[in-house]
Symmetry: C2
Amino acid sequence: MNGSHGSVHPVEEIPTTDVGDAAPVIRMKDIEGMPGTRGGLALRCIQLGFAVAAFSVMAASRDFPSVSAFSYLVAAASLQGLWSFALAIIDIYALLVKRTLQNRPIVSFFAVGDGITTTLTFAAACACAGITVLIDNDLDLCSVNKCAQLQSATAMAFLCWFTTLPSFFFNYWSLASR
Amino acid sequence: MNGSHGSVHPVEEIPTTDVGDAAPVIRMKDIEGMPGTRGGLALRCIQLGFAVAAFSVMAASRDFPSVSAFSYLVAAASLQGLWSFALAIIDIYALLVKRTLQNRPIVSFFAVGDGITTTLTFAAACACAGITVLIDNDLDLCSVNKCAQLQSATAMAFLCWFTTLPSFFFNYWSLASR
């Protein structure tokens, strides 16, 4: 078997191609905003803030138990808040022990979780937006209902969704690019 | 030139590595559901069908001009229908002339377009769902409004969104994995 090692020239070329293959994986690990980075932790904190704001403003409103969409917003914001809080803790742990969270099962789990929570939050925000627009513009009933409160809870939910999107896209991108 | 074909053995090994390198690109091209494939065309036709159904059912309802969310559903379903129709035409062209649509600017354009239309359709469906649930469950006004019609238009919009999602994810995946 060792006797055939004389013409080793073509074999030398293969590692050069291998390094080219591994390069994108290293690049992906560096992007701020992915799990286990400072950017990722910042995103989670902002999400948590907006989720808590949407939850509190809607839960404080008089109308929320009587309208399904408002109750749903409260539920979706709580779920989003809990998810972002859990992921923020994981990010803090990863930053403290300097561990990367870039392995396939973890990133898949984060991508699926982010996909579900972001869809639920967006659905709740849209349902509430539909109803607040109905009350405010179409029926002109803002004198009876506290429109400002409902609208600000809806806006908070939209902002929460908007800050969850980058987390989701980073995870999905990282999953696809390996 | 033909005289040097005697010791062709080491040269034969390099293409094997090259094929290994190129394999993911070829694999991505083969996934059914991506632009320029039969699966992609089928997805576009289903999207178009649901968008047309949502548009027609909602536009035929008596309530649609008076409620913003219902008008928005009509607009979003038209946009989705036009987009899916245009992409279906492009898919048919690509299939007829046997061209692949896997280059970066085209896939980016499709991914962004799908992302926007799918978000708008989902937002419209959620807003209408919020209002139909308000009318049906919370206020019990289904005797006055044609709930079945509104609910079926909403369901069609949700199905339309659901069939747009795979197109979006295939394009985004294909973009990330090159």
